[in-house]
Structures are given as C-alpha cells and as structure tokens.
C-alpha cells in the first residue's frame, strides 16, 4: 500500500513538473514573440546574430548535408535500385535531401552549435547579474538579448537549409556520376524533372520552425539558469537535448501536415 502511494506521489510530481515546465516555456515563448514584433528593435544585435548563426554555421551544415546526400545516393543504389538506378537515385536523393535530411541535419547541428552557445552566454549573464543590470539600465532583456537571437534563428535556418539542399544534391550527383558511372546529363535531367516546389518549401518551413525551437530553448534555458558554473552547464545540456528532441518531434508533425497522407 505504502509503496503504491509513494509511486503515485512520484508520478504525480513528475506530471506536475512537466506541466509547470511546459507552462513556463509557453509564457516565455509568448513574451518572446511579443518582443520580436514590438519596437524598439536592436538591429546591431540582430546583425551580429545573423552572422553568427548564418555565416559561421555554414561549414558545419555544408559538410553534414554533403555527406548525407552522398550516402543516400550510395544506399539507394546498393540497397534497392540497381535495375532502374539512374532515375531512382536522382529522385530519392532529391526528395530525401530537400524534405528531410537538410532540415533535420542542419537543425541538429545548429542546435549543438548555436543552442549551446546561447544557453551558455545568457546563462552566464544571468548568474553574474548582467541581465538584472540590463533592466536597471532601462533596456529590456527580452528585446536586447532574446528577440534578436530568435529572429536571427528563424531567418537564417531556411537560408542554411537552402544552401544545404544544393550541396546535398551535389553530393548525390558526385556519387552518381563519378562512382556509379551514371550519365551526367541524364542525372541532372532526372533531378530537374522530379524537382517539386513543395519539397523545397516544406523543408524551408521546417527549417524556420527548427530555428525558432533552437534559439527559443537556448535562450529559455540560459535565462532560467541559476547557481553558477554548474547551473550554466546544466542549462547548456538542457538546451541542446530539449531542442534536438523537439526538432525530431516537430519534424514528424510538420511532415504529417505537409504531406497529409
């Protein structure tokens, strides 16, 4: 009897904690959106974040999407399409990269790179009272710190993913033409023929959502952190893990919405 009670107690606490955390994140999210669309805007901070997220993440995103495109081409060929390979490989690479691989890969990589850095930076600012100092200097921390980061994430991830799309398709092309000896012109023709705007658009929309998730959770975890170096470390871990999980969940949800099967 007692064991059951403590079990129910614990379960209840877990459930309550979950809803409390979800509620807090929801409020934070609402506040962030509000401050993203109301002046004053800190354009300089926004510019810095655009460069930080967009430009400096480019190598990581390029490498991951390149190899993803290459491996998809190889797998499609060796796995199940040796017979009518030329058309199938081009199409599978195109669809897989634009719909799934580029957004998800870029999202996860940027979560590791940017989400962690944001949580650490804002967390340090929190525990050293720099965020309090911002308020006393009449600068709203949401406007100065969080809105530029979230806006930059939402704007830059689609750009990164678009570039990733191109690089991933090039990766598939390289494998197809140089390793599997497909005819280059036919491969390109096939790719062009199967290219559907919807694939690209859905991928870019996913990217924007992922950008929001990454930056929001990075900022949220940093903002809530307390207790010195250990707290900041914890915030960083939480930011990356929770963003990665949410990216995969939302990837499924968005796919369901877009390709309503």
């Amino acid at each position: 009897m007692r064991i059951e009670l403590t079990f129910i107690n614990k379960l209840g606490r877990v459930v309550l904690n979950f809803f409390e955390a979800a509620g807090k994140l929801g409020i934070f999210c609402g506040e962030t959106v509000y401050h993203c669309v109301t002046p004053p805007f800190y354009l300089k901070s926004l510019g810095r974040q655009l460069i930080e997220i967009g430009f400096y993440s480019l190598p990581v995103v390029a490498l991951t999407t390149l190899f993803s495109g290459m491996v998809i081409a190889l797998q499609t060929y060796t796995g199940f399409a040796q017979l009518s390979a030329e058309g199938a490989v081009a199409m599978v690479v195109l669809v897989a990269v634009t719909r799934e691989l580029a957004p998800v890969m870029a999202g996860l990589m940027v979560a590791g790179r940017i989400g962690a850095a944001m949580a650490a930076e804002i967390g340090t600012m929190r525990v050293t009272e720099q965020i309090d100092a911002l308020s006393t200097l009449s600068v709203n921390p949401f406007k100065y710190l969080i809105a530029p980061r979230v806006l930059a994430g939402v704007l830059m991830l689609p750009v990164l993913v678009f570039i990733g799309d191109i690089i991933g398709i090039c990766g598939g092309y390289m494998i197809g033409v140089y390793k599997l000896d497909f005819n280059a012109t036919t491969y390109l023709m096939n790719t062009w023929q199967y290219l559907k705007p919807m694939d690209i658009i859905s991928g870019l929309t996913k990217a924007a959502v992922f950008g929001f998730i990454i930056t929001l959770l990075g900022c949220y975890n940093g903002f809530q952190s307390k207790g010195g170096a250990q707290g900041v470390g914890q915030a960083t871990t939480n930011a990356v893990v929770s963003a990665s999980i949410l990216i995969l969940i939302f990837n499924y949800i968005l796919t369901e919405i877009f390709f309503n099967v």
Partner: protein
Amino acid sequence: MAFFGRKEKPVVPKIRMEKVCKAFGKKHVLQDLDLTVNTGESLVIIGGSGTGKSVTLKCILGLLKADSGQIEIDGQDMAKLSRREREKVLTQFGMLFQNAALFDSLTVWENVAFSLIQNKKMNRKEARKIAVKKLAQVGLGRDVADVYPADLSGGMRKRVGLARAIATDPAVIFFDEPTTGLDPIMSDVINELIVKTVKELGATALTITHDMNSARKIADRIAMLYEGKIIWIGTVKELDKTKNPYVRQFVAGSASGPIQMEVKVPQ
C-alpha cells in the same frame, strides 16, 4: 490661490516600502519591512551579511518580486502599474551591483555609455567622451576605457560599475557596497563622489555598506536591517547616542552582544 492659506501638500517620499515580505523557499529574508526614503536624501542601510540588504534593493527595482507588501515610488504603487509605466518609472534609477555586473562582451567605456547609446541614442563619439569623463571621476584613466572588464581588478570593476550607474545622471541611485574591495584612499574618493552626486545633482541615494566610516560620511540617515526588519533608523548623530544594543554592537563591531553570528564551532 496662495492667499487662501492652503496647507502645504504632504511631501511624497521617493520610495516607500510597507510590510514588504520576501522569502526564498523556507528562508524568510524580509519580514514586514518598512522603509521610507525621502527625495534628495542619502540613506545608508547597514546590517549583517546575508540579512537581505541586496534583496531589499532588488525588490524596489522589481528584479525580485516581493511576496507581499507595498512598494511605492513617487507615491505610485509599483504593483498596480502596467509594465510600460513601471519601466518608465524605473528609468530614473541607477544601480551599482555588489559584484559590479559589467557586460563582459563590451569594453569598459561601452559599459559606462551603455544607457546613453541605447536609450538616449547618443552617437558613439559623444557617448565615449562622457564615459571617459565619468571614468575619470571614479579615478580610472583613459587607458582603461578600451579594455574588457575581465582584464580589470575587482576594485577597478566596482568603480566602472559606479561610473555606469551615474552615467545618465539618474534621479535615484542605489549603491550596493560601493567601497568594498577598495583601498582606504580610493574609498574616500568614492565617498566624496557619492556625496557630490547627491548634493550637486539633487539625487536620492540609497547605499548599502559595511564600512562605518563611509556610512558616516555619506549618510543623512542610517537604517539598520536585522532579521528582515528595519530595527533602527536615525541620523549619524543619533547613531552615536543610541542605546539600541543591536546598533551599538554593529557600530562597535564586537562579537559579543545580542546579535549572534551563527558560527558553528566543531565540538
């Protein structure tokens, strides 16, 4: 209408705290704290370490939310104002944090000029000039202006924080231990700066300090915080005459008296 002999309007205090309570979990830091700071006066809060002096300042600034009680600034109840109105009221405040809380991604002069650039939209050249002037007032030279806070000593950081707090000539300034970590001569320079700021700019100052010399020098009134309440308040003269055993012990700095430090000596 003056000849109708209307009574003078009651003076609205700059800051009035009434029955303010603040607890962290089970730890009750402020319990029914009452405190009034008049416009243009320099009030010093003394009290033991960890009694909630910094928490008091943060509650006034809204950085911490009081659990109960009333905080009025210029007669306006802060809890009843909208966020925008509250932010507006707080623009007249400046604060020196106990650990300076400088922005480590900005250089020293950018820290000092932060509010000038962000709020007053001053151009950088002009803002820098003012920053350098304010730095000079706290005894820091031009050479410090372009380094990052991480490269400064603790006392230098504190002074940069002070320069930042007074950069916009705020009407109300909070100093959280302005002279801690400074040598005696520099302490006195800072004391004089605070006195000058209050006298010349007509600012209202609320200072926390453990340094009785400094308190005597800058205070119009001194308040003592103990167990979450203001247990004594009075002028410097009254401080020397008071019979309040808590205040006497604190001023004398003696370990024996009614205030028992919780020092756990292993048996």
